[in-house]
Symmetry: C2
Subunit: 712 residues, 2 copies
């Protein structure tokens, strides 16, 4: 079979077409008009009409990098995580208001309205998620403390702690053509939250949509100086400008990724590079999921959704449909029937069209070549064909549109499930291949022949099958979705990365990770172990560490005789790490314990039955309730009159260390451990280190008390 | 100046020297005797005597890799994290018992007793740390749940969670010559804990000490089959045998690291590679640390310790001494005086020797060449010389020992602090260079000219100087130690990686991370996002998720009328995730609140003063104490008679969500969330999900209750 590329309109008409601008060093920049001659024409995917010319000819990449490292770093450095998060939230709201403009442009890429939703709303969703997580999961400062402090000296005078600080360079982001908005935003948002300025470089075929989005973001006035630059056009050699201060995020082909990984500045220059590349994602039908089961139906629906949404141009698309050998025909028939019933290929501007063209004729030709290679590698076409598809024109009429990059879905089957072609050739369009497995171990083996994938689906309601399949394929996958009757309707879908979860996979998938909430923010930061005294660790982490100096109010709560001001009387503006109150002791009697048991109903034998309690391996006899101790501790440290402390909203890391017997007494120390002002609120959060001790000064209970405190 | 390498003894005497064996596929393996001709002779660093011949000629690396992937993976997969941790602990104890044997061998490498302590005891310490952290910080299972669950559906029927599962391959570990025991163990321990078998490949010059250690480990009978193999000799081309299942840990030169990073199986084959390479670590003297201050003294002591311990053959050694320009002479004088007073170079077998030879004559020649290059690059010798040093022989006499790799400490100074040589040439011996800075920003700039380092020391007691220096250099460093009067004595030292903290650094330092507690374990595991119903997430993570099925005992605690067996009556052996108890409601009156306030002393106005409480932004009026609610919840869910539940040892993640007013009632549900049997104990830990709700079923408080429960 010969593939002919239809002749295209000449570039004569391109003289009026605009040269797509870049946004660098705080301003819009366009190449000289002379660049038109060598610029790349970009066409409407459905009509072939040239809609823009793309060239970065004459653009000074080094100057853009320098601008990011200076102006961008400075403007972002002036904001805390919470402030940056609020910018992201506001950007999300701004783009939501203007999203109709983006949808209109998106149609030109061949995207249906639903496809545009995935790209545009998906991208906005990333902004909102980071806007929210940045405030809920990060401190209102500029460094992230990682993990617990480590005491390294017997006398507690020396310890260690890990912190993340932002890298002092630029996040250089090279994106693929298929998600011009989401792709840019999912890389931009975590970098921005980390405090690292971005240079976005979209793929040329759909760069005009990224440009439209960046134009809105710039118009919003919300971006801080230098925090986002856009390069429309080629950035060949950009790695020459980068060093260990910088991070590169790449989404695209494995071959381009390879050339980036081979660059000296990556190999030994310290440039951090994350790649997300080709992936032959599998969907595995469980042995239990026979035709007629909800899992079978959900599986078939998922396969059809994946290969038809964005015309299958998704790095997460299902490429390998791995099913019990005896069900290959059932699955092919059901997939074919569903495509036939639901898929209408055409110009997305036409009513009723459910699948648009590929992004360009070049892209379609590439997919055709891949299908030919799959056929040469042992595949047979089970549904569809390589004929130029009959498609719906924008006016609703049907015919062949040679200028449009249309292609109808194709389902292949391989009799030899081990055929290398099916596990290595990615046809980046509406194409998947069905192969059969013998048993669950075989299914695992086949899935893993993909050599590392972004995502796999397991469709099964059988817990043993799910556990075996998951255990076998997890190390080869960045994400695994378990589809069954109970989540078929609410699942976010095989092909949709969600900002909460990591996106990326090992091996062929590029070995990188993006998204995953705050995990991605850390990619733009360096983890450093800091060692020093508790005072130094307190100063450098923003979290008070036991052994660091305190400003102590003495025994105020009980006696009223306070040596210093009780910290409950200090608003956030005056409260400091190490502000503390130490209480007087209070003795606990058997009556107290009995009374507490009766009042609360907590008559657990350790508190009520001397003989039984003494038989317990941890107690010397009847002991005070842990909750009694907590409650009394509050009575000991609280300053009762109205003041800046508004509420105790929680408690963390409580450990009961030493039992308290009748006759023991307890006293408590409460120390300010962390102060987190909330943006746009009159109050903030204060975490207090609480230590309850007995009359021998042994720790009885240790915990963190969480309060809300007025700023003034 | 010409450097002459002393003539060595011929290899004639090597016929009786043993060929160093490897340990592969569960057995000791030695090359054929014919390999002696081409084997590398290894010499005692002090005497030049040939002590072993090293060759891997004929060793089947692929077979070793296959053995690890099959036998090693299987034996380790049969153990949980806690069981593996106990093996590490036992190995630590076994090596401690036999450490005299290792010290004896270590002397041959040129190590003094103190040097051997760093290597041998340091390595054993890694085993103990992972033995301890594995049980304290990991579940008693085989996967690690990473981060919080993410709900992804409005009706909670679909969510996501990250888990780490071990990679199904081998951890291939290439080590440097300077820490033959520690280097092997610090890579082995986290891989073993992860469940991934190791192949250790020590550097040839000191491979006999690693072999001695592995021999002890094998003799101990503690290692599971295939969990550790040793290759003595070259492993050229080993990356050809590895793929995305495998991980490589490399410590050594930047040039070798480069060749590894350039390998196709790393670039695009998915082999995970962590490198730790050359690093020109800085020590910065703060502007405040004038001569006579404790910081100045601690700084000088640290410089001398670093360049003399292990004869400066440490990747973490201080190479660049960065001090206020006006203090260069003071520092040089003080360092010189301390070396003169304390450093005795010689055969470590001799009494009074404090610094042994370098590892080999080749190594010394290499250091000499580097010093020459530093001199050519603008350095001047401020202390010491390149003359062959007078050294102490093992019998105590003093003279030149041409067969020994001795070298006396050298301190260089650079008038031009920006001289590229000082920031790029690592003389891997008892050598450092002193440069001056103008102000703190200049000090930061100079430190960062190292292009990424493993560690830096800041010596200062001035909080502003410390914060500025730390903020500036953190992104270029894997570890930063702040040295001052309060930790000078207890500090673990600039040059000592501790297993609790990450070891590694960006850029020139290799870009990798090792150690750091459980962080290193995760390097041998793949992070996968799993999506599914709460039931599926529960089954795959081993942690019960809200929405997953429960086995409910009804209102047992209060009414005694239990629909199913109360979960407090079930020992660990019968307890299952989702076992739950739901209580009857209990009404809260104003009297209850008043009484609780009086009994506990917690008279905070929100509980005692209607008007003041109503003025608080979060409360409708007087509300119940959070601790009252917790205490009553315990009264509602507890089953009081002696039984398998032994103690409530803590509580986590408590949030008070809705205030409770007089007249409201509360009820509680307690559900088994996680079960962690303890090895070698009669009990285990059970984490319970607790939700307290009001009469409108709104959540009032959510938290986790931690209990100890008998196994039977």
């Amino acid at each position: 079979m010969t593939i002919e590329t239809p002749t295209r309109g000449t570039a004569a008409s391109t003289t009026e077409v605009r040269l797509l601008p870049s946004f660098v060093r705080g301003a819009w920049w366009s190449p000289e008009p002379a660049a038109r001659a060598s610029a790349t024409p970009v066409r409407d995917a459905s009509t072939g009409e040239v809609i823009s010319l793309v060239s970065s000819d004459g653009l000074d990449v080094q100057a853009a990098v320098d601008y990011a490292r200076t102006v961008g770093q400075k403007s972002l450095g002036a904001l805390t995580f919470h402030q940056r998060a609020l910018v992201l939230k506001a950007l999300g709201a701004y783009l939501t208001e203007h999203k109709a403009e983006l949808y209109a442009v998106s149609t030109q890429t061949g995207a249906t309205k639903r496809d545009s939703g995935v790209d545009v709303d998906g991208g906005i969703g990333v902004l909102f998620t980071y806007g929210s997580k940045g405030r809920r999961e990060l401190p209102n400062s500029t460094i992230i403390v990682d993990g617990a402090p480590e005491n390294l000296a017997r006398d507690n005078s020396f310890g260690g702690q890990h912190v993340y600080t932002r890298v002092p360079g630029v996040a250089f982001q090279v994106n693929a053509f298929n998600f011009p908005v989401w792709g840019m935003l999912e890389k931009f948002a975590p970098a921005f939250l980390a405090g690292v300025p971005s240079i976005a470089k979209p793929a040329t075929p759909t760069a005009y949509l990224t440009e439209a989005c960046v134009r809105l973001m710039v118009s919003s006035g919300l971006l801080t100086s230098g925090s986002l630059q856009l390069i429309s056009g080629s950035v060949r050699g950009f790695l020459d400008h980068l060093d260990l201060r910088d991070r590169v995020g790449f989404t695209g082909s494995a071959s381009t990724a390879r050339s980036l990984f081979e660059h000296a500045n990556v190999i030994s220059g310290g440039v951090g590079l994350t790649a997300e590349t080709d992936s032959l994602n599998a969907a595995i039908l469980g042995p239990d999921a026979a035709p007629g089961t909800p899992e079978f139906d959900a599986f078939v629906a998922s396969v059809v959704t994946e290969i038809t949404s964005k015309a299958g141009q998704k790095c997460t698309c299902i490429r390998r449909v791995i099913v019990p050998r005896g069900r290959v025909d059932d699955v092919i028939d059901a997939v074919a029937a569903r495509i036939t019933a639901r898929t209408v290929v055409g110009d997305p501007r036409a009513e009723g069209v459910t699948m648009g063209p590929l992004a360009s004729l070049e892209q379609r030709d590439e997919v055709w070549r891949s299908v030919e290679a799959l056929l040469a590698g042992g595949g047979r076409i089970a549904f569809g064909s390589l004929e130029t598809a009959q498609t719906v024109r924008s006016d609703g009429s049907v015919g062949v549109i040679p200028e449009g990059a249309f292609m109808a879905p194709i389902v292949l089957r391989f009799d030899d499930s081990d055929a290398p072609a099916v596990h290595t050739i990615e046809a980046f369009g509406p194409v998947c291949s069905v192969i059969g497995y013998d048993d669950i171990d075989d299914a695992v083996r086949l899935a893993n022949l993909g050599g590392g994938s972004l995502v796999a689906t397991i469709a099964s309601i059988d817990p043993v099958a799910v556990a075996t399949l998951f255990g076998g394929i997890a190390p080869f996958h960045g994400r695994v979705l378990v589809l069954d009757r109970d989540d078929a309707r609410t699942s976010t879908g095989h092909g949709s990365p969600v900002p909460h979860l990591v996106h990326g996979g090992p091996g062929r998938a590029g070995g990188g990770e993006e998204l995953g909430g705050i995990r991605a923010v850390k990619h733009f930061m360096q983890r450093t172990a800091v060692q020093g005294t508790p005072a130094v660790l307190t100063a450098l982490t923003g979290e008070w560490r036991a052994g660091a100096p305190t400003i102590q109010a003495g025994a105020g709560a009980i006696t009223g005789a306070s040596a210093a001001e009780h910290p409950f009387r200090k608003p956030l503006s005056r409260l400091r790490l190490g502000d503390a109150v130490a209480s007087a002791p209070r003795e606990i009697t058997l009556d107290d314990i009995s009374h507490f048991a009766e009042f609360t109903g907590d008559t657990f034998y350790a508190h009520t039955n001397e003989e039984a309690a003494a038989a317990n391996p941890f107690f010397p006899g009847r002991v005070a309730h842990g909750y009694l101790l907590l409650s009394w501790a509050a009575g000991l440290f609280v300053d009762p009159e109205p003041g800046p402390v508004l509420a105790n909203y929680g408690l963390e890391n409580l450990r009961f260390v030493t039992p308290v017997s009748p006759g023991d007494s307890v006293h408590v120390t409460l120390t300010v451990e962390q102060i987190t002002p909330r943006e746009n609120e009159e109050y903030g959060e204060v975490r207090w280190d609480a230590v309850l001790r007995n009359q021998r000064d042994e720790p009885v209970a240790t915990y963190d008390v969480l309060t809300l405190v007025s700023k003034e």
